[in-house]
């Protein structure tokens, strides 16, 4: 009996065409963000390792991340890196918030699982709740000179003082 077996690529493509609901999209995004973060993590560990191996290379790399090559700034490069930074932030935030949703399913197989659609929307809401100020801060830092306006928004003065003293 000759049967038709789908290959790996076909299975992936066919799977993406499946009309799954919120759960399928969360699953897919969780995987994509996870892989993205892992890729960044590998790079980040390498570049951080330079700090002990070659301080000069480390500074060069950090400069590169800031859009500078040999001290010369390339605005496009800088923009690209900052958008990448936003993407990384978004990935980590989604992966974290959705990860909490998954943990809730394990803690509460009946109630959380029963409320999976509501929880999905809660994840979306929380994601935007975090990402909107983050985007603002990062873009602001990019447009304005690199100043810690960020700090003013995230940590109001009084809080920071309390934290220190």
């Amino acid at each position: 009996m000759s049967v038709y077996r789908r290959g790996l690529v076909s299975r992936l493509v066919e799977g993406l065409r499946y009309g799954g609901g919120a759960g399928q999209w969360s699953w897919l995004l969780h995987r994509i963000t996870g892989l993205g973060i892992l890729l960044y993590l590998v790079v980040h560990i390498w570049d951080t390792f330079l700090v002990i191996f070659s301080p000069a290379s480390y500074d060069a790399i950090m400069g590169f991340y800031g859009g500078k090559i040999h001290g010369v700034e390339y605005p496009l490069l800088r923009w690209a890196f900052r958008l990448g930074e936003l993407g990384l932030f978004a990935s980590v935030v989604f992966h974290a918030v959705n990860g909490l949703r998954v943990i809730l399913f394990d803690l509460s197989p009946i109630r959380a699982v029963g409320a999976q659609k509501e929880l999905f929307w809660a994840v979306v809401a929380l994601f935007f709740f975090i990402m909107i100020p983050v985007t603002f801060i990062v873009i602001h830092a990019l447009v304005a000179e690199p100043t810690p306006v960020a700090a003013a928004i995230v940590f109001p003065r009084n809080f920071v003082q309390a934290f220190v003293h």
Partner: protein, 248 residues
Amino acid sequence: MSMRTLTVRIKRYVPERDRSPRWEEFKVEADPHDRVLDVIQKVKWDQDETIGLRRSCAHGVCGSDAMRINGVNRLACKVLIKSLPSDVLTLEPILGLPVIKDLIVDMKPFFDHYKSVLPYLINDDPPPTTERLQSPEERARFDDTTRCILCACCTAACPPFWGDNKYVGPAAIVNAHRFIFDSRDRGAAERLDILNDTEGVWRCRTVFNCTNACPREIKVTQAIQEVKQALLTGEVDTHSVVNIHQET
């Protein structure tokens, strides 16, 4: 309601003719109250007798005609034409199992997974002369998972199963759940051992496609999560306090 002219797109694979699946289109008049199954049979009987599909009871209890209808796994006999958003009806075989012909897939791997979880009552104590007693609460505990008709809608909707056909899949776990939480059963430890495997419940990623696909509205993901919890805690709760009906 008046008749609708449907465009039925079927992913055909006839092994004697095709090397890989290809789309074929048919036009057919359908009553809004017709089932998708009626429409396919109409096409098969009037236009192309070679279309392959399984069907038997035609009202959602035998589980023969699971297929992908407009992208999602459904029983063809439980979807009415009036519920279709457009006049295009797309039909494909379910994913994750080898295609034998057109909408027919090889169910053997599916049933092998089902059989692997010991889907039968295990209790070697000598039975009483009458029934084994079981309270309505204990009976209600596993009611949901007794409804499974083994149609494979859930398993074939599961992304981890699409990738890994060694994964036992939602349907097998549902049927394990049905016995693990039956107060009369004594085989919970054995079944939990089997499901603790790499290809057991840990493959579940709570995607919920299974729950959405189940034509019997079984809370499949919940059942899987309950099995995971039993594995973690070693506690099998065989008593449920959800509102149940008692014979008076």
